[in-house]
Symmetry: C2
Subunit: 281 residues, 2 copies
């Protein structure tokens, strides 16, 4: 169904960007727009059915570029920790069923009352040691996503690409790698060199785009800017991952209340246009 | 007027923490509470009068630990750039008149439409080269404050202590150093080593405290947590600066709408108590 358009050959649209579109609408809209890839989230996929989603995507001729998300691996107590590991095994199985090789991991924040970031990061490493072999058995790679430092306490204790790679490199590259998302790393003058490090090690498992706009909304979660609306030189970051040898999908993942208030197909069309203008070339 | 209390000997309260208190109320409350230091802001000081403020503080037996703030040095065009430099020279003069050796610099964000962080950082360096000798003539040290990366686009292109020191070290230590504020650096696993680097170089010019609490408010500016309310191990950071040889004031600077809604003297008393519980010892 999809048209041939070399500019869009690597474009993937994460379903959170157009979250008002249900899965059938999303896959239909992507196919009609020439968008060859979609990034999916576990909750809507499970609501629709994992197998049914896989068929939908396949029938539309689309590729699932990532499944978001596993992780939240920082619980200190045995019960919550076991529950998190079990949930991540299910996420690995779902990724395999959807035909994507990349499970994005958001590591998790500090447990309630804790102020110990290094210990929380170490528990992430322990969990990766348990999950890595299971992922490999399923043909899935765990992609540790460093999140912006503003999420360090409540969402992700892995705040920089350097930390994510330090974690990943304790494990084989076909088990654990990293995600580079411009929204999270754009401020970091060390990130370009870390992208090269990730590429050289075969650990650059996904590349995501969002722009940085201010003011941040309350909670700082849903203010990711449409491509071209903000402070990030997206093309420069695309060139960094190009230079690192990355040839995979480029996924647009925008959490943005204002975009979500608009018609999903209109946002998709805008995203495609912005991708042509601000990322390609 | 102030009581002798060794636990509080290094405590300074930045006036923004209790911004509802006018300067006479602030200095009176600090003296009565055994708080020996105050950090001041240019705007209220200029409203009250620089010389009048200096006399007020002196008469209360207090020390001005920092003047906040100079900076905003990233303008690319000649006119705004000259205006910023002139304003910073005035800030240096005001710091000298107030008897503080430390002028805190918030470097400034990206100019409108720009996406070039490295160039903006370089313009900060250019400005430091112009301002450093003028500061030294006045017995004032410029203290570059790295701000949390969430402010990189609109407030401060210097996001890490590493960057701040890389900037500072281009100049003599009696001209340019850094501020360590827990709110801005707590997430950064490289910061402890950078604190040691700053101390060894004689560039650790100020140490400020605020706790990290979530959710962040809209704009992410005025949600700095009261000591002990958040995710930061404040005592651990105090020990890092201790180990770096820092023996200067420890200044509590809280931008917090909820604290500002309360009685300033009550907030001051609470801050003193939190300092004893979470910082001292």
């Amino acid at each position: 169904m999809s048209t041939v358009d070399t500019e869009l050959a690597r474009l993937s649209v994460n379903q959170m960007t157009v979250r008002r579109l249900g899965l059938p609408e999303l896959t239909d809209a992507c196919a009609r727009s020439g968008v060859p890839g979609v990034g999916l989230w576990r909750e809507p996929v499970r609501s629709y059915g994992v197998e049914a989603t896989a068929k939908l995507v396949r029938d539309a001729g689309l590729t699932v570029t990532t499944l978001c998300r596993g992780g939240f691996l920082t619980a200190a107590e045995a019960g919550p920790r076991a529950a998190a590991l079990a949930d991540n095994r299910r996420a690995i199985e779902e990724a395999a069923a959807l035909g994507t090789q990349v499970l994005v991991l958001v590591s998790g924040g500090l447990p309630p009352g804790s102020q110990d970031l290094p210990a929380a990061r170490e528990r992430v490493a322990d969990a990766l040691a348990e999950l890595g072999p299971y992922a490999r058995e399923h043909g899935v790679r765990l992609a540790v996503e460093p999140l912006h430092p503003m999420y360090a306490s409540d969402r992700c204790v892995v705040s920089t690409l350097t930390q994510a790679l330090d974690l990943a490199e304790r494990f084989p590259a076909d088990q654990v790698g990293v995600v580079v998302d411009t929204y999270h790393v754009w401020w970091d003058d060390r990130a370009p060199r870390q992208i090269a490090r990730a590429g050289a090690a075969g650990r650059l498992h996904a590349f995501q785009l969002a722009d940085w706009t201010t003011p941040l909304p309350e909670g700082a979660l849903n203010g990711r800017g449409q491509l071209g609306d903000g402070a990030i030189d997206l093309r420069a970051w695309r060139r960094h991952v190009d230079a690192a040898g990355y040839t995979g999908p480029i996924e647009v993942e925008l959490f943005n209340e204002k975009l979500w208030a608009r018609d999903g197909r209109e946002v998709l069309a805008e995203t495609v246009e912005r991708f042509r203008t601000h990322v390609v070339g």
